[in-house]
């Protein structure tokens, strides 16, 4: 009898091997990403219309931190600390928020095509931000635009979530079509606000809409810091539960996940992160789509690495993209959102085709 012939040998199972390789990959990637950031930050700080040698950048950094180093001349100090560093910090925050929001959203929807830009959450957040700028609202000081972006972004995630789910699943077609509808509606609202806004506000909005970090200042950094920090801090706590959610809602509940609560918290976190990014930098698309995908291909779909990894890679990608945006066509500056869309949309095409092939047509 074959049943008895086969020895049952849990010892020889090749199970742990790939898991271990993946864990090593995850550690290597994390180290690589951190190293990349450590290299790119001083390089980006030194590069531009007024070049500062990397050694001087490091010296100035050490000096400010009170760890020795030397103070530079007044112009260089001012360029570094009033222009470049706020911009770099903003790029890191926005990139990390977008990457992390993408990873979370894909996990919550159980769908690899979910991304704040694609499904319209970024535009939704933009509606609030544009409204606040157009009507000159500032009763919450610097935070006004962020708060408005958060509220309208939150409403949009909830609407998209409610509209694109049926029977506990989110089908690709429904999700993308919902995104089209939401984007159209948000576009109309933004147009309406532009119509009522005065010329100065229109200029401000138009520039902001292209997605740019050119207006970075420390107060702007402070304006997004609470949203971004809270979102980035909360997200990793839900990594294990997101893994379980990949099994489906009911099986996740069978394994002890309070699915409803998890979903509400994560939708809030996604809205926080998206609002942080959108309120300062406008709609920067595809970072949240491409970044988690690359990491998933390299280190597997486990969210314990994917969430912090996406934040790191998102920060790195956006910093590099911003560096390119301000140096490629110097002295002119490419809009950052245009650049990421230019690189990101072909990836989206490829992803669409691949998803379709896997499923053998749209469900």
């Amino acid at each position: 009898m074959t049943v008895l012939d086969k020895p049952v040998s849990p010892r020889t199972s090749p199970g742990p091997a790939p898991a271990r390789t993946r864990r090593t990959t995850a550690w290597l990637l994390t180290a690589g990403l951190v190293a990349g950031l450590l290299v790119l930050v001083p390089v980006a700080a030194g590069t531009g219309a007024y070049p500062v040698p990397v050694a001087d950048v490091l010296g100035s950094l050490l000096h400010r931190a009170g760890l020795g180093g030397t103070e530079l001349d007044r112009v260089a100090e001012s360029v570094l600390w009033n222009v470049r560093f706020p911009r770099i910090v903003l790029a890191l925050l926005v990139g990390a928020s977008l990457g992390c929001a993408g990873a979370l959203m894909q996990g919550v929807f159980g769908n690899p095509l979910a991304e704040p830009g694609v499904i319209g959450v970024s535009s939704g957040a933009a509606v609030g931000a544009v409204g606040a700028i157009a009507f000159g609202l500032n009763f919450l000081g610097n935070w006004t635009v962020s708060v408005f972006a958060f509220v309208s972004g939150l409403i949009t995630v909830l609407v998209v979530y409610a509209m694109s789910r049926s029977g506990g699943r989110t089908e690709v077609v429904t999700l993308i079509l919902t995104g089209i509808a939401v984007n159209a509606f948000a576009g109309a609202l933004i147009g309406l606000f532009l119509f009522f806004a005065d010329t100065a506000a229109v200029n401000q909005i138009t520039f902001w809409q292209l997605g740019s970090l050119a207006q970075a200042t420390w107060p702007k950094v402070l304006a997004v810091l609470p949203c971004a920090a809270l979102g980035l801090g909360l997200a990793p706590l839900y990594a294990r539960r997101l893994d379980l959610l990949a099994l489906g809602e009911r099986p996740a509940r069978h394994l002890g996940v309070e699915v409803e609560r998890l979903r509400i918290v994560l939708v809030l976190v996604i809205a926080l992160l998206t609002a942080a990014a959108v309120s300062v930098a406008g709609v920067i698309g595809f970072v949240g789509l491409v970044v988690p995908h690359l990491l998933r291909m390299a280190a597997g779909p486990g969210h314990r690495f994917l969430i912090p990894g996406s934040a790191l890679l998102g920060a790195l990608v956006l910093l590099a993209a911003d560096l390119a945006a301000r140096t490629v066509a110097a002295p002119a500056e490419l809009p950052l959102g245009v650049l990421t869309a230019l690189l990101g949309s072909p990836f989206f095409f490829w992803l669409l085709r691949r998803t379709r092939r896997r499923q053998g047509g749209w469900a």
């Binding site: 074959t2 049943v3 086969k6 049952v8 040998s9 849990p10 010892r11 020889t12 199972s13 090749p14 199970g15 742990p16 091997a17 790939p18 898991a19 993946r22 159980g110 769908n111 690899p112 294990r240 893994d243 379980l244 959610l245 990949a246 099994l247 489906g248 009911r250 099986p251 509940r253 069978h254 394994l255 002890g256 996940v257 309070e258 699915v259 609560r261 998933r296 597997g300 779909p301 486990g302 896997r358």
Partner: protein
């Protein structure tokens, strides 16, 4: 160990949930799940009506019946997935709705009818997901052993490193079962575990069910194959149109007239020529 918190403090400290306590070991014959006069509505239509059933530690209960009779709904009700419109479902002696999800996860494991996964996790990680309810508790130490045992018993260890999405239907079903076994809950609710499996693995899965029952667990299994139910179940409940038409040991319940009527298909029940075990086959005029 953290002290047990009253429901009120637990509500306040929801961000840091208190660790749910595992159930005490069950003695054979203990009722681990029961439905009492349960009526379940789906889309306003009664799918179960006045169903009474008890699931005891140490036995395999098979739910059989034609399509749409309410087998999966009854399983869902016992799993605390589907709320009862009338009547009461108790899991480990307490109404199903009063348990929190983490508490239930230590008490019952559920195998859904079809297994899907949104992201390509490797098989070993999928099985390990079954250990999630024990994370941080004392029995976390069992994790590796539970996963290895479940994978060996369901014969999925050979493709432990492959992504779940690259498996065949039958392989996926066994991986899903391995995950459920790794959970090591005292109440197992399996919805058609044999549907996608070949002959050998059907036998394997039901032998596993019987072993778990002998080891003191309660097993409920939805089956279509009446011969399998006859061979492996201690008790069988035959469902018809949302009600239990008969319940008891296979030898009592598998009656030609009853089955022919329930399935609207003439059925023969005969003893195996060699072993005398019950065989249930549709009557075919050749």
């Amino acid at each position: 160990m953290r002290a047990v918190k009253s429901p009120n403090t637990r509500g306040l400290l929801r961000l840091v949930p208190s660790r749910p306590l595992p159930p005490p070991p069950a003695a054979p014959g203990d009722v681990l799940a029961e439905a009492e006069a349960v009526r379940v509505l789906l889309g306003g239509r009664p799918v179960l009506d006045g169903v009474d059933v008890r699931v005891r530690a140490g036995e395999v209960l098979a739910l059989v019946g034609p399509n749409g009779a309410g087998k999966s709904t009854l399983l869902g009700a016992l799993a605390a997935d589907v709320p009862a419109a009338e009547g009461v479902v108790r899991v480990h002696g307490r109404p199903a709705g009063e348990w929190s999800a983490p508490e239930l996860a230590l008490r019952r494991a559920v195998l859904p009818q079809s297994a899907s996964l949104s992201f390509p996790f490797p098989v070993a990680e999928v099985v390990r997901m079954g250990r999630a309810p024990w994370a941080g508790g004392e029995r976390e130490a069992e994790d590796d052993a539970a996963v290895a045992e479940a994978m060996a018993r369901t014969e999925v260890a050979g493709f432990a490193g492959r992504p779940f999405s690259a498996l065949s239907g039958g392989e996926r079903a066994r991986v899903a079962l391995a995950r459920v076994l790794a959970q090591r809950a005292p109440l197992l609710l399996l919805d058609e575990p044999t549907a996608a499996l070949d002959l050998r693995h059907q036998e394997l899965v039901l032998r596993l069910c019987r072993e778990r029952a002998r080891a003191g667990d309660a097993v409920v299994v939805v089956l279509h194959d009446l011969a399998l139910a006859a061979a492996y179940a201690d008790r069988v409940a035959v469902l018809r149109a949302g009600r239990i038409a008969a319940e008891g040991a296979p030898a009592e319940v598998f009656d030609e007239d009853l089955l022919s009527e329930v399935y609207d298909q003439p059925v023969e029940v005969l003893p195996h020529p060699r072993t005398g075990a019950l065989l249930v086959v549709p009557r075919r005029e050749v």
